[in-house]
């Protein structure tokens, strides 16, 4: 297990899912995530799973809807425009309480955008994404090793709460190579507990129905209220974050994913110059680590949000600090800031602190 392997982010993501017990993958080519379906095309047959190159993202997510209804661990991946196409199917999975796992290797947007890194899909990921009232568990890795290790946690949470879960990465995380150490033994799907909702061989039991609708008066609200309670539990128990040097900080930089790595470099530069600057990095974007951030805001009155989008992530930071601290924004919509640029922003904000 302690073996370190040099891997590309997209391959680590695929291998992480396989090791976590994924045995069905359906996808459609789109840059910058093509290594995921390419890897799965040989790896799935090797472990006795199924790989399908679907005719579209729409078909891919519906293949997943069918496959995951049989109770097995499934995966699809795509990049921004492709994830938009999958949203109807994701909404159906949420409505039918199917624990699917998918990854968005985000590119620049809107529209066709570009194929470089961006963080413009934050709202789409953390606010449900498709139609109707639902949430998806969103994990945001900031290194290749996390790309490899987060799929397992996504499956476990998705199955525990019966909700879809996703990894929100970007072109940089998908394309770069780093050493990976998987922090878990490969999961043999045969050892996983059979689900009492899974479709298949019905001998000796009542028939089962997987669906996302209930047309009877008042019944849909009851379903949604029950799901809302599960969402509340997820928010209460499953938020993950990382604090760096926040205890004595006068300014805390908040950033996730690729931005958080760049911000970490800038925070180090600031510390080297004697500035009391820390870093707050959410690891789950939904549930958002609201309590953890509110706790920091009890003693830190200045935050600087760094995001590769116009100001989406900043909304969750502002909701968490709830008016108790000043929140500045350094927005780079589909641009990747350098650590120097972030440091310059830190300096500007820091100098204004009284």
């Amino acid at each position: 297990m302690a073996e370190k392997i040099l891997m590309k982010g997209n391959e680590a993501l695929a291998e992480g899912a396989v090791r976590a017990g994924c045995r069905f993958f359906a996808g459609y080519p789109i840059t910058p995530q093509n290594e995921v379906p390419e890897y799965m095309s040989w790896r799935m047959p090797e472990v006795g799973g199924s790989f399908i190159q679907a005719e579209s993202e729409v078909a891919a997510i519906n293949m997943l809807y069918g496959a995951s209804a049989t109770g097995i661990r499934t995966m699809t991946s795509s990049s921004s425009p492709g994830i938009s196409l999958k949203q109807e199917g994701i909404s159906y999975c949420a409505g039918a309480d199917l624990p699917i796992f998918f990854a968005n290797v985000v590119r620049g947007g809107p529209g066709l955008g570009n194929i470089a890194a961006g963080q413009g899909d934050y709202f789409q990921s953390t606010r449900g994404g498709g139609h109707g009232d639902y949430y998806t568990i969103v994990m945001a890795p900031n290194c290749v090793e996390e790309m490899g290790n987060f799929p397992r946690r996504c499956y476990e949470l998705a199955e525990k709460y019966r909700v879809p879960a996703m990894v929100l990465a970007d072109a940089i995380l998908g394309q770069m190579m780093e050493p990976v150490e998987f922090d878990f033994e490969p999961v043999d799907p045969k050892t996983l507990k059979a689900h009492d909702w899974a479709l298949g061989i019905a001998a000796g039991r009542e028939r089962r129905i997987v669906r996302s609708y209930d047309l009877r008066e008042g019944k849909l609200e009851l379903l949604n209220l029950e799901r809302m309670e599960r969402y509340r539990k997820i928010q209460e128990k499953e938020a993950l974050h990382e604090n760096r040097q926040t205890d004595d900080a006068k300014l805390v930089v908040a950033a996730y994913g690729t931005s958080s790595r760049i911000a970490a470099g800038a925070v180090k530069m600031a510390r080297d110059k004697g500035m009391k600057v820390g870093l707050f990095r959410p690891i789950t974007l939904w549930p958002f680590p609201t309590k953890a951030l509110a706790t920091i805001a009890e003693h830190v009155k200045n935050f600087l949000v760094v995001e590769m989008s116009m100001g989406q992530f900043v909304e969750d930071v502002r909701l968490a600090v709830c008016g108790t601290a000043r929140v500045d924004l350094y927005a780079r919509p589909a641009g990747v800031p350098s650590a120097d640029e972030v440091f310059t922003e830190i300096e500007k904000v820091y100098q204004g602190i009284r």
């Binding site: 679907a54 078909a59 069918g66 039918a96 028939r207």
Partner: protein
């Protein structure tokens, strides 16, 4: 007394919500009889569509899944590849299969997925209230072509069996009708073959059933049956378009 007929055990014992003269009830019963006869009820998974037959998940006494409009073949693909030991069928109307879901239809046939598709062609959107379908006949009125379907505005009806017959992967394609008693018997035979093909791992099988929608056609059930025979059948000729024996 000798019992000569009974409700199939593959059909849930409850009233169906379909309109008088609608063909869905007939085709549901045929599928259920076949599931009984082939003794596959306990390992069959059905995919219910969007449209009037959305309620098929309540009527078939087997595991069922209801999915997005047009995506039945993709859902069936996911189930079949994950559970090859199951018999998987997708039940779809004309708007579902031939309009929004055409890509899934064509590609599941091209891959020759070992699934069974029951395609109900009644030349109109039923559940939404009688809008034009891809199979609406030229001149036929609907709520979105009130003056009748015209080539200039709406183009031509799609002949799904003829189109899919171009694909090597489409192993079995037959068009039948449930407008007459002999037609119902032939339909049962065709659907049974489509299920047997899956058991025999033959590949993609689809039966297109010309069916009735008297409510949205503005007809009585008797007039509706006549419409199928006199107006639809000349445009959608009955017969086998591809068979595994070819």
């Amino acid at each position: 007394m000798k019992l000569i007929n009974k409700k199939p055990s593959s059909l849930v014992d409850k009233p169906m919500r379909y309109c008088p003269g609608c063909g869905h009830g007939i085709v549901h019963r045929l599928i259920a009889e076949i599931m009984d006869e082939l003794d596959i009820r306990e390992h069959t998974v059905g995919v219910a569509p969007v449209g009037c037959a959305v309620f098929a998940d309540e009527y078939f006494n087997c595991d069922m899944i209801q999915g997005p409009h047009g995506r039945g073949p993709a859902i069936a693909t996911g189930i079949k590849r994950s559970k090859p030991e199951c018999i998987v069928f997708s039940y779809q109307g004309d708007g579902d299969l031939a309009s929004i879901g055409m890509a899934e239809t064509v590609h599941s046939a091209a891959r020759s997925e070992n699934i069974t598709i029951i395609f109900i062609n009644n030349a109109i959107y039923g559940m939404t209230g009688g809008q034009m379908a891809p199979t609406t006949l030229l001149g036929q009125t609907s709520s979105t072509c009130p003056a009748g379907r015209s080539v200039a505005v709406n183009g031509y009806p799609i002949k799904v069996c003829e189109m899919l017959a171009q694909l090597e992967g489409a192993r079995y394609l037959e068009r039948t009708s449930v407008s007459t008693a002999p037609g119902v018997i032939k339909t049962k035979k065709a659907i049974k073959k489509a299920f047997q093909n899956q058991i025999d791992c033959v590949g993609f099988s689809m039966v297109e059933v010309l069916s009735t929608c008297p409510t949205n056609w503005g007809m009585t059930p008797v007039q509706g049956a006549r419409f199928v025979d006199e107006k639809m059948t000349p445009i959608y000729p009955l017969g086998v378009f591809r068979s595994p024996e070819q």
